[in-house]
């Protein structure tokens, strides 16, 4: 599939495999095995952290160390949701938005920080789960479902009034928006993460030592920002769905 770049694979120092997948056959479906493995790793990491936080026996009133860190994470996520959804509505959506952020953030960073290259798998290589379009599309469609659910549960069928609310002439654009939202969400995340990894891989191919380091740091930064953007947008879309034009609050 990548005739143009096969010369990279002759060097063991730098490998670049785009569009090659380690296929698993499940029923009639072919799935990308390498994405599953890394996703499970990320999920395991998050679940272990969550269980450790829940079962912590010695909770201190003046937190230190790990407890301090966990509280910082929780407060950060709560502020993120509160900024988008407002004081009144944020609580039921906090778990969703926080999960999106944590999963995307940890998978982005795992792609850069975990030395996946040391583990050999046939036909492909392990990388961040968000490096695969299927992961990001799944997350984006979940976001779509979430804001539809939010709108319908809050307003019932009156949610459709949103489509013609400021003026009915915008109806086609509003309908189109329902498709472009998940499209742009998924492509943004996928493209950014893939671009990061490609840039680092190409640079490692050119100059193997030291020079790629600043770009790797930049990659860490952008992937953190992308996780933030995804969670922020999810919150904004949900807010848009539950907040009608007629009852818009003045800020």
């Amino acid at each position: 599939m990548i005739d143009a770049l096969t010369f990279y694979n002759n060097l063991t120092l730098a490998e670049l495999e785009v569009g090659n997948h380690f296929y698993w056959q499940i029923g009639n479906f072919q799935v990308h095995g390498q994405v599953f493995m890394t996703s499970w790793f990320v999920i395991a990491l998050l679940v272990i952290a969550a269980i450790a936080a829940i079962t912590n026996k010695k909770v201190q009133t003046a937190p230190s160390g790990m407890q301090n860190f966990m509280e910082y994470v929780l407060e950060f996520l709560r502020d993120l949701a509160k900024n988008q959804l407002g004081e009144k509505d944020y609580r039921p959506w906090l778990p969703f938005i926080a999960t999106l952020f944590l999963f995307i953030f940890v998978s982005n960073w795992s792609g850069a920080l975990v030395p996946w290259g040391l583990i050999e798998i046939p036909d492909s290589e392990l990388a961040a789960p968000t490096n695969d379009i299927n992961t990001t599309v799944a997350l984006a469609l979940l976001t779509s479902l979430a804001y539809f659910y939010a709108g319908f549960s809050k307003k019932g069928l009156g949610y459709f009034a949103n489509y013609i609310q400021p003026i009915p002439i915008l109806l086609p654009i509003k309908i189109l928006e329902d498709f472009t939202k998940p499209l742009s969400l998924s492509f943004r995340l996928f493209g950014n993460i893939l671009a990061d990894e490609l840039v680092v891989a190409v640079l490692v191919f050119l100059v193997p030592l030291f020079v790629p380091l600043p770009l790797m740091a930049l990659g860490l930064f952008t992937s953190a920002i992308q996780a933030l953007v995804f969670a922020t947008l999810a919150g904004a879309y949900i807010h848009e769905a539950i907040e009608g034009y007629d009852e818009e609050e003045h800020e």
Binding site: G19, F187, R188, G191, Q226, V229
Partner: protein
């Protein structure tokens, strides 16, 4: 792959990412300039301005990334090959 399709795809990929970089480049320049002006006027608001700026830069950045996705599709998963 047909050589004409291959060469057309390579040129199209280069154009896709190159042209897609123009608009966001201008936009990011504008946004950063305005942010710097804002910080110069009101240095105490720097934290807030920086946070918002980074978020908006990420949005503009994603426009170029769409072009990049198109060019990656053309190079690695060409539907016409």
């Amino acid at each position: 792959m047909d050589p004409i399709i291959a060469s057309a795809s390579v040129i199209a990929a280069a154009l896709a990412v190159g042209l897609a970089a123009i608009g966001p480049g201008i936009g990011q320049g504008n946004a950063s300039g305005q942010a710097v002006a804002g910080i110069a006027r009101q240095p105490e608001a720097e934290g807030k301005i920086r946070g918002t700026l980074l978020l908006t830069l990420a949005f503009m950045e994603s426009l170029t990334i769409y072009g990049l996705v198109i060019s990656l599709v053309l190079l690695f998963a060409n539907p016409f090959s």
